[in-house]
């Protein structure tokens, strides 16, 4: 089993490298015409459609996610973050789908857009710096089901729990919200870093690009 998984990971990493290579090449080609090279690349990815599968939970990620930014504000690898959210959803027998939202870097809007495309109407938003929210398609944009505003306190276990809870909402179960975490000194230590990361993410916004099916 372990060998299988390792082999799988090797294959995935090879494929990813190949994709990365392609994007680099194509981006260069378009660079002359406009400033596409500065933006997250989307060619080679399918535009995301609204699904009707009620078992599905969408994870909406930010424009710099796994392109310009690879790690959250406290150093968690974004591929590990996604892996854990997906695992949480799958544990509840539901199906994760990742969509990259390139029109906004606002967490609630990326989650809400995800929720609207999601077959179950439940979406999870994750900014590249790690801030996360569980949203539902019929809520006000700045409302939510559960919000995790302090990115520096996030852990992979917590992301997994978020996936699990989102899946439970999708199933219509009675859900106990995840107990919040709070560090009153988080602003002193991290707010400047958060601003810099958010600037980086916001620079990747391109309102002309469609939502795309991410990895």
């Amino acid at each position: 089993m372990q060998i299988d998984q390792k082999t799988m990971e090797q294959i995935i990493s090879l494929v990813l490298k190949q994709i990365a290579g392609q994007t680099g090449g194509l981006a260069d080609a378009t660079a002359k015409n406009d400033n596409m090279s500065e933006h997250t690349f989307c060619e080679g990815y399918l535009p995301a459609k609204k699904s009707t599968n009620p078992k599905e939970v969408v994870i909406g990620v930010g424009p710099a996610f796994q392109s310009k930014i690879q790690h959250t504000i406290n150093g968690l690898n974004l591929s590990e973050v996604l892996k854990n959210i997906k695992a949480g959803i799958e544990e509840e027998d539901m199906i994760p789908r990742v969509i990259k939202i390139q029109k906004t870097s606002d967490l609630c809007f990326m989650a809400l857009e995800g929720a609207k495309l999601s077959g179950s109407g439940i979406g999870i938003g994750v900014q590249s710096k790690g801030t996360a929210v569980i949203h539902q398609k019929d809520l006000y944009p700045l409302s939510n089901l559960e919000l995790f505003p302090q990115a520096p306190l996030m852990t992979l276990e917590l992301y997994r729990a978020i996936g699990k809870n989102a899946a439970k909402y999708a199933k219509g179960e009675k859900v106990t919200p995840i107990m919040g975490k709070n560090d009153p000194m988080v602003r002193a230590k991290y707010q400047v870093k958060a601003a810099l990361m958010h600037i980086k993410e916001t620079e990747q916004i391109n309102p002309d690009l469609p939502y795309i099916e991410w990895r």
Binding site: L145, V175, P184, K189, A194, A195
Partner: protein, 554 residues
């Protein structure tokens, strides 16, 4: 290089865990006097502003247009703009120029001019300005009442104790959004159990917050956020006009409101358009005024980590508080968010508002331990109560709080917890046990309380919301459960909505539900011997801190 032992000691000091950054105006990391800030100018044709701070009307973004059309006294503009910024700055600190005269001059200046005026003042001059320009004669203070569990019993108990200690406004928010109605109800009832006439709010998503107000679960609102660049407004699906509309919606239901803005929000959203934090905040204040709000919560607020990271950032924070007061707005002057690991630094930052006094020195002093503060920590918390009381006593300054004894504290906490228990029972909400009441009565924070079944509470909240429960139902529940006095107080708070006097600038209520505002109790400071002086009963109250040496015991 070999490091000295002292350098090592210094490196480990709390202040060196804070985040600092050099000025970077291109990304908005600049507190005041930005190199790209516009120069003041105004041109008026047929009573219409056709040029504002170097921009022609056709180049206006929607913020410029809103300000030009709604926030500047056009009949005053040409006269005010003829004065130099330095002259206006000097009038602000001159005790021979009255508050009224300064208000009149400032009503005709543009945002860039306001920015320039503030740039001329050092922090002591800003404090002198605030002492004179604050709207209400007596300063006041607001509390945050929250906890990690969103436990309504603890909210009620903390609200009661907060009210007893002197907070005249109390604000809650939620860990889980859907808890909002319970938090609002617990805060409303608990606060009146501590001291009558405290105003309460629940900071959540705007539409939900408005409905909480309409139902009578809150008595004011504060989180109508505005921004200094068009981009940030648009990202939030908003415009100055939509905010003005929301403000009017609250006013139409007789609810006190203030806007919120502050340095660093545009930087944090990645859209500062190369402008300084001060200039952008001044634009926010003009939008606030133009939208007809009586006041603002400002002073960087939740973005204080950004403002505090750049040179002169804390000076800028006081500068924007003063700018609000100069526009005649009620100023709830922040101090409500932790921003530093250093006790020295956080105390010094608060002195700028504490010493001159503002309408609300804190727009959220954590009246619970900071680990329970769901605004991610306030600059002062429940563990600083005695420090704060001593600061008032040391300097003979009225910071709005008072020493209390534990017996009174326990009494009001228990009353509040029992009242919310009775209301829950009456309304058929999930039971509050005697153990929960007892734990909340004696608790310091949520580590000491009994946990509730959150999932069951959330289902009950949804149902209660659908049943259309309002403030009147709370009054009935209290009256019929033996809490007549408390029922009367809640009814009195609801009556304010019909009377409407507390919509006036900088209004708070006293313990007999009478309004004290910038209108019936205006600040009349005009130098030594005038204005608000801490004396008489209030001074005696502040002097009487608990831990005092008794000479008879020697």
């Amino acid at each position: 290089m070999k490091q000295s032992i002292r350098a090592k000691v210094l490196k480990e000091r709390p202040v060196n865990q804070d985040g600092f950054i050099n000025e970077w105006p291109e990304m908005g990391f600049i507190a005041m006097s930005g190199p790209y800030d516009p120069k003041p100018s105004v041109r008026i044709v047929n009573g219409c502003i056709t040029e504002l701070d170097g921009k022609k009307r056709e180049e206006f973004d929607f913020i410029d247009q809103f300000i030009a059309d709604h926030a500047i006294q056009i009949s005053q503009a040409e006269a005010s703009m003829q004065l130099t910024s330095l002259e206006i700055a000097r009038k602000i600190v001159d005790i021979n120029t009255s508050r009224k005269e300064v208000l009149k001059i400032v009503s005709g200046i543009t945002p860039a001019k306001m920015s320039e005026v503030i740039n001329y003042l050092n922090v002591v001059e800003m404090m002198m300005g605030m002492q004179k320009m604050r709207a209400r004669k007596t300063p006041s203070i607001q509390a945050h009442i929250t906890n990690l569990k969103d436990d309504p019993v603890q909210i009620a108990a903390d609200a009661a104790e907060g009210a007893l200690r002197g907070f005249r406004e109390e604000e809650t928010t939620v860990g889980v959004t859907r808890y909002a109605p319970f938090n609002a109800i617990a805060l409303l009832i608990g606060s009146q159990a501590g001291r009558k006439g405290v105003l309460t709010q629940c900071a959540v998503e705007e539409a939900t917050e408005l409905e909480l107000g309409i139902r009578g679960f809150t008595t004011y609102a504060e989180t109508i956020s505005v921004y200094g660049t068009e981009k940030v407004f648009i990202d939030g699906d908003d415009t100055p006009y939509s905010k003005a509309f929301l403000n009017a919606a609250y006013a139409s239901r007789g609810l006190k409101t203030r806007f919120t803005s502050g340095a660093g929000s545009e930087v944090l959203m990645g859209a500062a358009e190369k402008k300084s934090m001060l200039y952008l905040e001044v634009r926010c204040l003009y939008v606030t005024k133009g939208a007809g709000s009586q006041g603002v919560q400002n002073g960087s607020v939740s973005c204080i980590g950004v403002a505090a990271s750049v040179p002169a950032g804390i000076r800028e924070v006081m500068g924007e508080n003063l700018a609000a007061a100069l526009l005649g707005l009620e100023c709830a002057s922040s101090n409500d968010q932790s921003f530093t690991n250093s006790d020295l630094r956080r105390s010094a930052r608060t002195m700028l508002q504490f010493l001159p006094g503002t309408d609300f020195i804190f727009s959220g002093y954590a009246a619970e331990p900071n680990y329970d503060n769901l605004f991610a920590g306030s600059n002062f918390d429940a563990e600083d109560f005695d420090d704060y009381n001593v600061l008032q006593r040391d300097m003979q300054v009225d910071g709005g709080l008072r020493p209390v004894n534990d017996e009174e504290v326990i009494r009001v906490r228990r009353t509040a917890a029992k009242a919310i228990q009775a209301v829950f029972l009456y309304l058929g909400l999930p039971k509050i046990t005697d153990e929960q009441v007892e734990a909340a009565t004696y608790a310091h924070g949520s580590h000491d309380t009994e946990s509730r079944d959150a999932a069951a509470d959330l289902i009950a909240i949804e149902d209660m919301w659908k049943r259309g429960i309002t403030g009147v139902d709370l009054v009935k529940a209290l009256a019929e459960s033996g809490f007549e006095e408390l029922a009367e107080s809640i009814l009195n708070m609801l009556k304010q909505r019909v009377i409407g006097d507390y919509l006036q600038t900088s209004a708070i209520l006293d313990e007999t539900f009478k309004v004290c505002s910038g209108v019936n109790q205006p600040n009349d400071y005009a130098g030594p011997g005038t204005g608000y002086r801490l004396e008489g009963n209030r001074w005696e109250e502040i002097k009487a801190i608990p831990h005092i040496i008794d000479p008879d015991n020697f």
